[in-house]
Symmetry: C2
Subunit: 201 residues, 2 copies
């Protein structure tokens, strides 16, 4: 049974990127790269499309990605990381991008990209079909917010990094309704506390 999983790294004060996140510094300023240290061991490796987690984080990453069959993200994230230069760090998995209009040029690499212009529900269905029974992993603050608002998320995986960033892009903006969660798993590492929640509907 495919689950729709929103997955994000976040500072303890709720920021998923520093201020001024641009393609030149996709994590924003304030050394917000630290938010992804548990996953990547450095910026250059990330640029080359490599993962190199350490310690207990290795098992976390392995479990995450062995259960994932497709990715879904918004156009903002896609543009920020320049379409991963055509190759998403998890090689071979399809990527669905929710957008108003497809980009004119897509960098060629080893990932397949589908640009969905018919709204979030359709993008989720597209990614679900491409995941072939595995889970859909959703990235991006805006997409996560919409997913939760429309009741489309089954689980929420957060990686809480031990920093009070102080400024940047929030994962959770103020919303009209509360959402109840249920803790599924907590794993502590020095780089991040990994939390898995079931989203109640």
């Amino acid at each position: 049974m495919t689950k729709i999983v929103a997955d994000m790294s976040m500072s303890l004060d709720g920021f998923i990127a520093g201020p001024d996140d641009t393609p030149a510094q996709p994590f924003g300023s304030r050394n917000a790269e630290q938010l992804h240290n548990w996953l990547f061991s450095g910026r250059e490796l990330h640029r080359e499309g490599f993962l190199r987690p350490e310690g207990r984080n290795v098992q976390i990453v392995d479990a995450m990605y062995s259960s994932t069959g497709a990715f879904l993200c918004g156009r903002r994230l896609y543009d920020l990381v320049k379409g991963w230069n055509g190759s998403h760090p998890i090689r071979g998995l399809p990527v669905v991008v929710l957008t108003h209009a497809p980009p004119e040029n897509v960098p060629s690499g080893n990932s397949s990209f589908t640009f969905c212009t018919q709204g979030l529900k359709k993008a989720v269905d597209t990614a679900r079909a491409q995941a072939k029974g595995k889970d859909v992993m959703v990235h991006g603050a805006n997409t996560t917010q919409q997913l939760l608002k429309e009741g489309l998320a089954d689980e929420l995986w957060l990686h809480i990094v031990p920093i009070i960033l102080g400024e940047g892009r929030r994962l959770f903006e103020r919303t009209a309704n509360s959402i109840q969660l249920e803790v599924l798993e907590t794993v502590e590492t020095p780089q991040a506390i990994h939390l898995r929640y079931h989203v109640r509907r």
Copy 2:
């Protein structure tokens, strides 16, 4: 060695109370009482000054309070809870209240209250002296923010409750500087994930 410990319950999206927190509903609306369910088993018990945690939360609460020698909070929290009707739920421990002017009437009960008008640093020193070698536990969003900003916090204890509240009073507002933390302990319970952090200076 006395540690200065900021201790707060928070929704996953960073709120420590719902909107419209007033003395009539000190946790605010949106059923934000749930933020304290791990600590109190219900509103009425809280009003009577009783603690009744359940399961693993019992040990968490016991450990927290056996290490605590004094409380420090701001005037806003003191007013919201009507000075705990004179008796803080942890009976017998002194309470230091940071304020611009002491209240005219203090409800009589079994807690001693000291109203400090000389700023946070002085209030911390006063609480430290009253803690007699145990820790000072600091409550309240504003006071916690000031404490972190002025570099006076040794540890940060957060109880992350499995709800996206959507609205209310944030623990972390945007700040000028980032602060590095170090994870000391993570304990998962169904009602809250209890996190202890060391605050780096």
